[in-house]
């Protein structure tokens, strides 16, 4: 599903450049649950952003579902964001001005889905995540774990093929973290959704079925 070939990323710094990723080769199959691990500044978040099409590599080739991403138009990429990719962020990144319900509904709005279908989809997700009672609350009225739950619900509602999670439990305490990871595990095994997460935690990594270690911009 995801194939990286000699991917590099560097930023210009003064006269030289700061290489974040160096010739990364990587492939992830459909249905995998991959954890990317490594020390701070090793380049794991950048790798995730590149895979999630939020950032472009400086060099190398990236095939997403056999499509060469570096040749895709802006429009095509937005299509992928809408239909195939879901994001879960460390800081949840819910829209503060929208309620739980509306936050989850937003990706569907961008897909121009009919109102009736939106309603049933959001209702399903709320039900599944057990947050029906919270649907009219705003993000700042929720605990961190609940916010992340909404974040995942939002990532899932558009039925993506892959979820990229950037330290999804980084801001949560361990019991909440465990719940979230169990949810990921369930999504992976029951729904067959591919999951790629960046994490510091060895415990979180055990929920996945593969660990990719990164150090100094290289897969080790």
């Amino acid at each position: 599903m995801i194939q990286l070939h000699r991917i590099s990323k560097y930023y210009p710094v003064g006269f030289g450049k700061n290489e974040v990723l160096k010739d990364v080769d990587l492939s992830i199959q459909e249905g995998e649950f991959v954890s990317i691990m490594g020390p701070s500044g090793s380049g794991k978040s950048t790798l995730l952003h590149i895979m999630g099409l939020l950032e472009e590599p400086s060099a190398g080739e990236y095939l997403f579902q056999y499509d060469p991403v570096h040749k895709l138009s802006e429009k095509k990429r937005t299509e992928l964001h809408r239909n195939s990719i879901g994001f879960v962020f460390q800081a949840y990144h819910l829209i503060d001005e929208l309620t739980v319900y509306e936050n989850i509904e937003t990706p569907l709005l961008y897909k121009n889905m009919s109102s009736a279908e939106r309603k049933s989809r959001v209702a399903d997700i709320l039900d599944r995540f057990n947050i029906v009672a919270k649907k009219d609350l705003f993000p700042n009225q929720l605990s961190g774990g609940q916010q992340q739950l909404v974040g995942i619900a939002r990532a899932l509602v558009a039925e993506p093929r892959v979820i990229f999670a950037d330290e999804p439990t980084g801001n949560l305490h361990s019991s909440q973290a465990k719940e979230i990871m169990e949810l990921f595990k369930e999504l992976n095994t029951k729904d067959g959704i591919t999951i790629v997460q960046v994490t510091h935690s060895d415990i979180n990594a055990t929920f996945g079925n593969r660990v990719i270690n990164i150090a100094d911009g290289k897969v080790v």
């Binding site: 952003h49 999630g52 939020l54 950032e55 802006e74 429009k75 937005t78 299509e79 964001h81 809408r82 239909n83 879901g86 994001f87 962020f89 990144h93 819910l94 829209i95 503060d96 001005e97 929208l98 509306e102 509904e105 937003t106 990706p107 709005l109 961008y110 897909k111 121009n112 939002r154 990532a155 558009a158």
Partner: protein, 795 residues
Amino acid sequence: MITNYIKIAFRNLWKRKSYTFINVTGLAVGVACFALLALFIKHETSYDKFHTNEQNIYRVLTQYNDGAGQVNTYASTASALAGTLKSSSPGILGITRLGDATPVIKAGEQLIQEKKFLYADNDFFKVFSFPTIAGDPAKMLVEPYTLVLSETAARKYFGTTDAVGKMVTINDNQAYKVTGVIKDAPANSQIQYNVIASFNSLEDGRTENWNRPNYQTYVWLDNHVQSKTVETNLNASLSKLMDTWGIKKSDRGILFLLDKFSDVHLHSSIDGLTANMDIRYIYILSIVAILMLLVACINFMNLATARSAERGREIGVRKAIGAKRFQLVSQFLAESGFITLFSVLLGALMAGLALPYFNALAERELSFSLFSVVSIVGILVVLFVVITLLAGIYPALFLSSFRPVTVLKGKMTASGGGLRKTLVIFQFAASVFFILSTIVVIKQLRYIQGSKTGMDRSQVLVIDMPRKLIANFSTFKQQLSTQPGISNVTASYDSPVSTGGGYSINSFEGKGTNLNFSVTALPAEIDFVKTLGMRIITGDDFTMSDEIAAKNEENNVVHFILNETAVKELGLTPALAVGKKLSMNGRNGFVKGVVQDYNFASLKEKITPLVIFTEYGYFGKMMIKTNGDVHKSIASLEKVWHDLVPYAPLEYHFLNDEFDSLYRTERNTGNILIVFSSIIIFISCLGLFGLAAFTAEQRMKEIGIRKVMGATTGSIVALLSKDFLKLVLIAIVIGTPLAWFFMHQWLNNFAYHTKMTADVILMSAITAIVVALGTVGYQAFKAAVINPIRSLKMD
């Protein structure tokens, strides 16, 4: 989707109340001012356009050229001109002469001093389009001693518009029959009337008189006829006429010009029947109106882009979950549309509420009529779209252009600072421009008020002379003069502050007998100079014997007092002029004295040659100099008036007020400019206030650290204000020369004007700085006194 946009827009606006308040207030005030100015401009530019023949009506101007470089143009013509004009060219569809008067009218038991009284030819209703309510417009003004009433006058005189056939008495001696009732003149008509009497009622209307150029002549030309051709033909006819009168070619300094009637109000330097507006003022006010909106839109743009950092995360998330740029742009446009819609509606409401105050300010009676409401709704819709786009499109494009990863990584800072600074400079340059302009306008208006015009206007009452009183004026004067509180009593044809009347000196002893030296001349009573506190520099003032000589019917001798300019332009010295024989339009006599130059017309005009002469038949104004308590003087006046002039109501005004009314256009425009400039400055400050709050918030952490390290409140206020001060200084550098240039042009309209000095610049610069620093300083101070622990804890 759109409901989602509106929902989020509403919540966003609600969450940032102070920011929304700034935007809505600024925009609403901007829209309200724009609507009021638009109404005013529309009114002024629509003057006299409602006449069906508007494109083909001309007024006749008389230009006197004395051959020595002195050219004077007046809108007045003699009554005989109309006949000559009619026969000189084909294609003349109608001619009407107009004369104005302020007679006393007796209707039933009512005595009314009628101020809006005109004499007009029967063609009046053919040339102009004033709809008739009763009577036959084809022959309403044919017969002598007939008149037409306006709807208002008919109601006032007879309590009904059904007034045709009724009689009124004018000046206690002549009965007039009402032959028609017409609709009131619209406010945008320079011809205003309550009563229009037939021109034939005047002696000059029944005879061909070339000697009294006291009337206006209007002509309606056929579509295909060129006004230039008519002008040429008229002057040729006149030339022939002068041949028969035996006037030498070299002495003919008179030329008639046709002046398009509907252009008079805005484009002519010679007033129409009501005070003109200057097209340049219209331009200035249009600029003010547009700037007003622009400045308000700039606030919106600046605050929206400044707040972009706050919105950045939301945009990043939306992009990551699949928002197209177009969708983001629509979202932000919906948001600005929401604010704009609200502001425009609020602005319209404010305009409606402020209209009476605006009318008082502009001395107009504007109203939002049905027609103007329709067009104003149209304007509002256009405004809505324009402001939404203008204020919203840049922030929308700007905000939607973020790369999601930069914002999500938290690297986002509020960019667009360069543009923001430019816009603030623009706003403040506009403010400085208006501050300086306002100061100059105020200075000039003060200058006019306080300038020495060569006469003493204080405590002088002016009364329109009732016709019947002219013959008995001496008795009246004698009785009044003995009363307490009355110093002097005199009379003249015209008001001493706005004297018209084109005469020419035909012979002057030692200068020849075939002169054509054009002067303004004023028939006056002997105490004229004394009553008005003018100074005779050589020779003597008029005396009682001059009055007797003037009144002597068999051997009439006229005495003249010339002003300094007349003497100078005749090539004489005052000493040489006194005692010389002089003849002016058939009046013969001697130069009695030379009076120091005084402004007998608006200060816009240079003082030209003037002759004051003794003639007792044509007084239009009475001037009474009072002393002590003015109420006592008026009581004296009322007593004498009641005894001697029972046939006319007593209506007086102060000469000083009349003087002020000469500058009505300047004062109106000045007042509008002052108020609206203040509003522009207010809106600019509102924006600056928002920006300063934003900057203070953004630098909260820095302020906290500095305070921990020992910075004083003062030094932090200085730190925060410094950047804004720089912008204001740049704005001053840009705004000042522009304003200087424009105000210099404006002052040049006045022959007599105040000087623009460095203190004007200093004052405007200081005002701008103080206003800006006051705005920014408040926010800076608020930020500086916050406990640093609080600001540092935020992270």
